[in-house]
Each structure stands twice: as structure tokens, then as C-alpha cells.
């Protein structure tokens, strides 16, 4: 098939809508391993967009490339939990076996080995993506086999099926995960009770957003319902990008029908006829099964026109893929991305409930929120309120990874203490828990009696355990690099601040920093927190600020004993000169006198 035919095929299937640009680019990337210049030209003509606009979109998303990556595009998940499971040694092993340099396509153009942000396989890592498909549970043997498969030019489709198996690893079930209701029960309840009564149920259940911010779901739905417009939208945020989180992966694998039903419930209440599931690119492997489930729902009258035979209850759901951008978990960035643009967070106000997707009132909720809402529709608000705390009703799914015997998914009533969680997952000798991900909180043992709840420590679900043998500064460094990679670049404090912060953390890590640098980190962190445009920038300094306060020893033991150290290393600065002259004798070095 020629590139013209391929592009005509994908664009005509979406009526040549420019808003589907990201979806077209996603398809082209996986067809050709990059976006050829010719494709950009063709898309620009077809969609009446400028080429630089398309370049800008390609440049924004990590999984899109303007130069070939080869038949095998391999990305090692680069989260701290992958590191702790040996990912960097495995990356080195693969690169050495294949004779390639990380991040640079091999000379024969066959393969690129690179890293990517957390792929959501933290409890069964180390993990990688090969051409977008997930392989978890990596070890030396697997890497050896993968190298052979690549060297023998075996198509990824022919690789052993067990490589692509992903476990659910559910370790503790409560009201959500022990659900045994039938498909359609929530929608039947909606039709029986009516939209207004059902919205009251959701409101009085006290359900709050499960993505971490904790906004009251019923209130969000009511605001959206009250916003007058010819169209409303329901969007499910499945861009589970927070390092250490993988509970949405499990819900979408094992409970997708209930998630879709929650979206349909919302649609029925707010009067939406169209919904989107925004699925992170890393979960490409889940897509086909989700499409199949949507088709089954349509065939059984639970999606489509006249749902459950009710006239005017029309709603359908489409899946949109993300392409490697953590910022798109922020709801207004997600909406920009859904519209096929760079995922830059919008100004607020207005909020999505009044001006969302296509500037129409839009509800954006997390996967777990929609599933909870579906169960509230079936069992009622009181049932939901009977679990959890006064401020935080219901349960929370935690994704537990790191130093513990039984990592996996744990569903707890809100109010559970960190101490109890650690006991259940078999964590001993714990130095710290990183709760709510890279943007979250570093909890020292003295605070292990604190509770997971909106009124205490609120979390989207990431729970990473670090034992006493770990160097927490490795975690801080990993997160600092993560935020530089993931900052969208829109506002000054986050764009520049995160880069300055990373350089300072590296300086401490390499043993070149003084007390002055720690003070600088604090100053930059507080500025980012107070003046950034969106939640990414305001929370990005959290790991540094938290550890500076609660784990000062991880910094102090690496400090030079002077107040001020220069930002550059005199000896390292001479490296270029040494390379040019071919010298490496003692006289070609500075400051390394014995």
C-alpha cells in the first residue's frame, strides 16, 4: 500500500476531521516507525493544517518521531521501580548484545533502544514497550531471547505470546473489586429512578474524583448538566501516567464494562450523546479488547441509540489514544489532546464543565470514578457511604510496588493507615513510602500512622515502597529527570525551574554540591509551587521539597563541606580539549592532584 493510500484510509475513516490529527499520527507512527515528511505534507493538505502545526504536535508527544526508529522500537520503562528491579542493567545488556547506543537508531536502521516514562507495569517490572506493545517481567533470559529475535528479523507478531502477558495482580478486594452485578444494572436503575434522583444519589454518596484531586463528582456532573449547550461530552481519563500507578490498567482489563457503564450513566444524567475514553499510548495492548467490549455493549443495547429501549437515551463511546505525554492526565491538556493538539493545559476558568471538549460542557473523570459511580447507581448512596470516612466515602485502589513481598492492586476503605498497608503487602524495614507518585508525598516512618484519605494524605493510587537499603536520592533524581521530560514547556517556572532543579539534583548526586545548592533547590521549588500554570508545575518540586525537609541526611551525606560549589566541574570542562589533543596525562587534568 502506498503512503497516500494508507493516509487516505485512516483519515477518511474519521471523515478527515483535523481534530483527529493525533490519532492519524499514532497510526502512521506504528505503520512506518516514524512520521515521514511526505505524510506531514499529505495530512496538511487533507486537513487544511500547516505543516509546522503538525510538526509541533509530533514534537510534543514522546511516541511520535520525525525520523525512522527501525523495525524494532524498544523503550525501557524508566521509572524508579523499574530501576530497583534492574532495568538499567537489562538495557545495557540488550544494547551490548545488539551493539547499539541507547536512544540512537542502529546503523543498519533495524532497531532503536531507548527509555520512556513509567509504563504502568511497576509491580511486574522491569518492563518495556516494543513497537508500543508491553512486555513485562523482563530478566536476563528474556533479554537474551529478545536480542536473538531481533537479530533473526523475527516480526514482533511472531514473538512468544507469553512475553506479552500482563497479570492483574489483585491482592485485596473491597466493594469495587468484589462487584458481581450484571451488565446494565446501573443503567436500569437510572431509567427506574430518573436522572434527577440518580444525580442526587451520586451527590449524597460523597463520591470524589479518584484521580487524586478529589473534586466532588456529583457537583461536577451537576455543573455540567446546568451548562446550556447543544452538546455535552463525557470523557474518561485513562491516561494513567503518574509513576507507580497501574490500577486503571487493571480496571480496564477486568472491569471495563462497569467503567463504560459509569460513563453512560453520566451521559444519561448530564445529557451527553458522545463520550471518549482517552487511553494512554502505553496501554496500546488493551485497546483491541476494549473496542470489542464496546461492540458487545452496542449489540446488547447498552450503548448506541435508545439505550435499554429508552427513547432519546443515545450515547456512544470512542477510544482515543495518547502518545506519551504525562501532562495529558491533566484534564484540560487531555481535552486539547483529544482535539488533536499539543497537550498544553488551558487557562482556568473557564473549567471543562462549561467549556470543555470542542468548547462544550464536558465531564472528565478518572476510570475508577466512573466505575464507583456505576456501583453507586446500583447499590445506592448509603451503601457507598457505609465504607470509608466522613470526608472520604468508599474505597481507594492502591497500586503498590517497590520493596514489598506482594506488590499489586489493593482496594482499601478510605482511612486505612499506611502502617496497615505496609503490613498487608509484606513490607519490612521500610525507609519511606512515596505516596501519590512522583508529584506526591514522601512519607517517613514517623508518619506511617497517617491515613489514605482526602483529609489526610490524598492519592491517585500510587504507593511505592523503599526499604532501608535504598538511596532515596536515586528516587529524587529519577523524579527530577521525569519532570524535565514531562513538563509541557508552556510556563516559565515549570519549564525552566524543572530543568534548573534537575541540574541541582544531579550536582548533589555526583557529590559536587554545597549547602548553597540545597537552598537554591528550596527556593526554586517554592517558586514553581506558587507560580506555575498548572498542577504539573505546582507539584513537580514536591519530591525535592519533601525529602529536603524529611530526609535531609540523603543530601547532607553527599555535600562538599563548603558553602558554595561552582556549577561546572573544571576538570570535566577540559574534556573537549583532551579529546582534541588526544591527551589524558596528569597535566591535562585539573584539581585531581593526589
Amino acid at each position: 500500500m502506498s503512503i497516500e493510500e494508507f493516509i487516505s484510509g485512516i483519515t477518511s475513516s474519521a471523515n478527515n476531521q483535523p481534530g483527529y490529527l493525533l490519532q492519524y499520527l499514532y497510526e502512521i507512527q506504528y505503520q512506518y516507525s516514524y512520521i515521514p515528511q511526505q505524510a506531514i505534507k499529505l495530512l496538511a493538505e487533507k486537513l487544511s493544517l500547516t505543516e509546522s502545526h503538525i510538526d509541533g504536535v509530533i514534537g510534543f508527544y514522546s511516541f511520535l518521531h520525525d525520523s525512522p526508529r527501525g523495525a524494532y522500537d524498544i523503550l525501557f520503562s524508566d521509572s524508579i521501580t523499574d530501576h530497583m528491579l534492574g532495568s538499567r542493567q537489562l538495557l545495557e545488556q540488550l544494547c551490548n548484545t545488539l551493539g547499539v547506543t541507547p536512544a540512537i537508531p542502529s546503523e543498519d536502521g533495524r532497531v532503536t533502544v531507548d527509555t520512556t516514562s513509567c509504563t504502568g507495569m511497576c509491580e511486574q517490572g522491569p518492563a518495556m514497550l516494543v513497537n508500543g506493545w508491553t512486555i513485562a517481567g523482563l530478566d536476563q533470559n528474556r533479554i537474551e531471547t529478545i536480542a536473538k529475535l531481533i537479530e533473526s528479523d523475527t516480526a514482533v507478531e511472531q514473538w512468544p505470546q507469553e512475553f506479552f502477558h500482563v497479570e492483574d495482580n489483585i491482592q485485596r478486594r473491597d466493594i469495587l473489586l468484589s462487584d458481581d452485578s450484571n451488565k446494565g444494572d446501573a443503567l436500569k436503575a437510572l431509567i427506574e429512578q430518573g436522572e434527577d434522583a440518580m444525580l442526587e444519589q451520586v451527590e449524597s454518596s460523597g463520591l470524589r474524583g479518584r484521580g487524586g484531586a478529589g473534586f466532588k463528582t456529583g457537583m461536577k456532573w451537576r455543573f455540567c448538566k446546568q451548562s446550556e449547550a447543544d452538546q455535552h461530552y463525557v470523557v474518561c481519563n485513562a491516561d494513567e501516567g503518574e509513576p507507580g500507578t497501574f490500577k486503571d490498567r487493571v480496571l480496564l482489563n477486568a472491569y471495563a464494562d462497569k467503567v463504560f457503564e459509569g460513563m453512560t450513566l453520566c451521559a444519561g444524567i448530564i445529557g451527553a450523546s458522545k463520550g471518549y475514553l482517552y487511553l494512554r499510548g502505553e496501554y496500546r495492548y488493551l485497546r483491541a479488547a476494549l473496542e470489542q467490549k464496546l461492540q458487545q455493549l452496542r449489540e446488547t443495547g447498552l450503548l448506541g441509540n435508545s439505550i435499554l429501549g429508552k427513547d432519546g437515551f443515545d450515547f456512544d463511546i470512542e477510544i482515543h489514544m495518547g502518545a506519551g505525554a504525562y501532562i495529558c492526565g491533566e484534564e484540560s491538556s487531555l481535552i486539547e489532546s483529544l482535539e488533536g493538539k499539543r497537550g498544553i493545559p488551558r487557562k482556568r476558568p473557564p473549567f471543562p464543565v462549561t467549556y470543555g471538549y470542542q468548547n462544550k460542557p464536558t465531564v472528565v473523570n478518572n476510570v475508577e470514578t466512573f466505575m464507583s459511580a456505576a456501583l453507586i447507581a446500583i447499590h445506592g448512596a448509603d451503601w457507598f457511604r457505609s465504607v470509608g470516612t466522613e470526608e472520604s466515602s468508599g474505597t481507594k485502589l492502591l497500586s503498590i510496588s517497590g520493596d514489598c513481598e506482594k506488590p499489586g492492586i489493593y482496594e482499601y476503605p478510605f482511612g486505612v493507615s499506611i502502617q496497615d498497608i505496609l503490613k498487608d503487602c509484606g513490607a519490612t524495614d521500610t525507609q519511606a513510602v512515596q505516596l501519590a507518585g512522583a508529584a506526591g508525598f514522601t512519607i517517613p516512618p514517623a508518619e506511617f500512622e497517617r491515613c489514605v484519605a482526602f483529609e489526610d494524605v490524598s492519592s491517585g493510587g500510587s504507593f511505592m515502597v523503599f526499604n532501608q537499603q535504598r538511596d532515596l536520592l536515586d528516587m529524587v533524581q529519577n523524579f527530577a529527570h521525569f519532570f524535565v521530560h514531562e513538563s509541557c514547556g508552556f510556563c516559565t517556572p515549570c519549564r525552566v525551574g524543572s530543568a534548573l532543579m534537575k541540574d541541582l539534583v544531579d550536582k548533589v548526586h555526583s557529590g559536587h554540591a554545597g549547602q548553597y545548592d540545597l537552598d537554591e533547590m528550596r527556593k526554586i521549588g517554592l517558586l514553581m509551587r506558587s507560580s506555575s500554570h498548572c498542577g504539573l508545575g505546582t507539584t513537580a518540586p514536591n519530591p525535592m521539597l519533601d525529602t529536603l525537609n524529611k530526609f535531609p541526611q540523603i543530601y547532607e551525606k553527599r555535600l562538599k563541606h563548603s558553602a558554595y560549589e561552582p556549577a561546572f566541574d573544571l576538570d570535566a570542562a577540559l574534556q573537549d580539549a583532551r579529546d582534541i589533543t588526544g591527551r589524558d596525562d596528569a597535566g591535562a587534568h585539573i584539581g585531581t592532584e593526589s
Partner: protein, 242 residues
């Protein structure tokens, strides 16, 4: 001021209309809030954050925050001025801003706001990025070293000129301005010196050729009066002052 809605800016009552941001109302009242990416001719952007103020105890960007009745806005506390200075220092070290060698010196908002906030040094470690100069166009040159990503040229070319000559590519610290033409050069684009986009750059990134030193350094807009008095460069585009 009877009957009109007001908020308080540094203790002064400022009248506003529905739909006004803090910036809109302050500018109308002749009060200066430092800013770079804001230009009243365009819809607010909120990216440079230099207009950060404390409104009812919370830091917000004045250019995007809707004004509200009785809102207490702090525009000049030490804390706010320190934050602004640090944000400006970040912009200075991110690019290559060498005022003594820049032909826009004296008529540059980045420089003028830096003076206003008493910025005496760039403070942070310089990034010294490798950026290019594009002199391919007959009338206008672009020095990417000085771009601060305010996107005013992007907005002007899109919304006023309807040409979409500019766009932003990359992400995070790698974000950069690009030009829509086959070669990526300005000379191959549809850009013209008469475009609005040629007259909105608050710094020395988009430069008219051949006229650089018609007005000598020392006699330029901000050489005579501070930015808090004379306001934006763009507002003086047509007059002799610049």
C-alpha cells in the same frame, strides 16, 4: 466610583467591568503590573507568569485571573517582587540574552522589566543553548537566542494576519519557535514586514532589518523612563519615542 464594581490593588480601589481580568482593569486605571506575554490586543496567555500577583492570599497570573468584587490584590510586596525577579532570571538564563550586544537594548521589555524588579544578575546557571539566527528574509531577521516563548508572534500571525507563519515545536525545556515554510526559514514563508506579527515581539527576537541603530542607544524608550510609566514596546510601535 459609586455603583461600579471594584477590587483593591495595593490598597487602591480599581473599578472593573464584567469579564475583566485583574490586568485589564489595572491597565485601564493606569496601574502597572509587570508582564511580558500579555498584550491587550490579544487574548490572555498566562505563560510567562511575570504578572504574578497575590489575590486573596493565592498567587495567580493577573492577566488570566478574572477580577472579583472586593478582591485584595497585592502587586508590590517583597515576596511578589522576589518571585518576579526569579522568573525573569529564569528567562535570562534559558536563552542567550546579552544586553550590551543586543540591538534592541533600551527598547526591550525583558530588560525593562528586569530593571523594574531590580534584577542585578541572572543568578541561575546559564543554559547557553545552541540557537540560530535566521536572516533569510529581506526585511526581518529572527534571533532565536532571544525568544522567550511568549507566543505573541504565533498569536498575531494566526489571529490577525491569518497566515500561521509561526508555531511552537518540542516540549518542556526543548520547546522552541518554528517557522512554517518548506525550509523552515523565514525567507521562504509568507511573512511580510507589514504583518502584525512583525510588530509584537516584546524582546529582540524579531528584528526589522536596516534600521537597527536609527535611534541610538541611550535615547530609546526605556532609556528615558521606566516601563512602569511608559508601558509596552508594542504601544509605542508607531511613535517616535521608541
Amino acid at each position: 466610583m459609586n455603583g461600579s464594581k471594584t477590587f483593591t490593588l495595593d490598597g487602591k480601589a480599581i473599578a472593573f467591568e464584567d469579564g475583566d481580568t485583574i490586568m485589564d482593569a489595572a491597565l485601564r486605571a493606569g496601574e502597572y503590573i509587570p508582564h511580558l506575554c500579555h498584550n491587550p490586543e490579544f487574548s490572555p496567555h498566562g505563560s510567562c507568569r511575570v504578572c504574578v500577583v497575590e489575590a486573596n492570599g493565592r498567587q495567580v497570573s493577573a492577566c488570566t485571573q478574572p477580577a472579583m468584587v472586593n478582591m485584595q490584590v497585592d502587586n508590590s510586596s517583597d515576596e511578589i517582587m522576589n518571585d518576579r525577579r526569579a522568573l525573569l532570571q529564569m528567562l535570562f538564563v534559558e536563552g542567550n540574552h546579552v544586553c550590551p550586544g543586543c540591538e534592541t537594548s533600551g527598547a526591550c521589555q525583558l530588560q525593562a522589566v528586569a530593571y523594574y524588579t531590580n534584577m542585578l544578575s541572572p543568578h541561575f546557571t546559564h543554559f547557553f543553548p545552541q540557537r540560530s539566527v535566521d536572516a533569510s528574509h529581506a526585511d526581518i531577521a529572527i534571533d532565536f537566542n532571544r525568544c522567550i516563548l511568549c507566543e505573541l508572534c504565533v498569536r498575531a500571525s494566526r489571529d490577525v494576519d491569518h497566515k500561521n507563519v509561526f508555531a511552537i515545536d518540542g516540549r518542556g525545556i526543548n520547546s522552541h519557535l518554528v517557522i512554517n515554510s518548506a525550509s523552515g526559514k523565514l525567507g521562504d514563508s509568507s511573512f511580510a514586514a507589514t504583518d502584525k506579527a512583525a510588530h509584537v515581539c516584546p524582546v529582540g527576537a524579531i528584528l526589522p532589518k536596516h534600521t537597527a541603530y536609527d535611534k541610538p542607544i541611550g535615547e530609546r524608550l526605556y532609556d528615558k523612563q521606566p516601563i512602569s510609566i511608559v508601558g509596552d514596546v508594542a504601544a509605542h510601535e508607531q511613535d517616535e519615542e521608541r
